[in-house]
């Protein structure tokens, strides 16, 4: 298998800029978070600016640029949190 089918969730400002809560994407295997951000900046120009400060999670844990995206991951993108 050389395609990784993932779910991508957006929240708050990212959701509004993306115009959707949810996307499904086919990614190349072994893509890193940094490469995913580059891909989204290219394919979704509305989100390019957001990619500079976005927080990203893989399977509900915070993930960083070097992380390799596992198969069928649930990925989320959002700004720094503001609960309370």
């Amino acid at each position: 298998m050389n395609i990784n089918h993932v779910k991508l969730l957006f929240f708050a400002t990212l959701r509004e800029r993306a115009g959707t809560k949810f996307l499904e994407m086919d990614l190349p295997n072994d893509l890193t978070i940094l490469e995913l951000k580059e891909k989204i900046s290219t394919e979704h120009p509305n989100l390019k600016e957001s990619m500079k400060s976005v927080l990203i999670t893989i399977n509900r844990e915070y993930a960083f640029d070097e992380a390799v995206i596992p198969q069928n991951a649930e990925i989320a993108m959002f700004p720094p949190v503001s609960g309370g």
Partner: protein, 155 residues
Amino acid sequence: MQSSNFPTIFSITEDEIDLNELLAKITLTSTGAAAIFTGMVRGETARGEAHQTDYLEYEAYIPMAEAKMKQVAEEIRATWPVIEGIAIVQRIGKLFPKTPTVLIACTAAHRDTGVFDAARFGIDRLKEIVPIWKKEVSPDGQFWVEGDYIPKPGE
């Protein structure tokens, strides 16, 4: 009592936060003290740039938010093993001034056990790592409130 039997409650809800019900659930026969923090929607802000707020609209990444609340409770227990019960609840949706939005309560046998610090840590940590956001709607327009904490690996 073993700490594994101590009650821990964490939830994201659209319903009104019921302090009495939560407090009853985290009060044991050995409990003699509870420290409770609750935050509410502030309609008039004086600090910084003075402004008015019509309402706040909250959203959450619910399954991750509940998992991170559980993690906050585990961090509290690691630092203050004497804490008995912990409740962490965030209300989401459209919330108007004076409405409680969040509650964190910790119980212990006595008040000098760190129970105040534990509740303080709980709300501070929630604001760092639990994926919840709020949009402020005011007479001047609307904007997303963004935090400034960047989680580190392992958080």
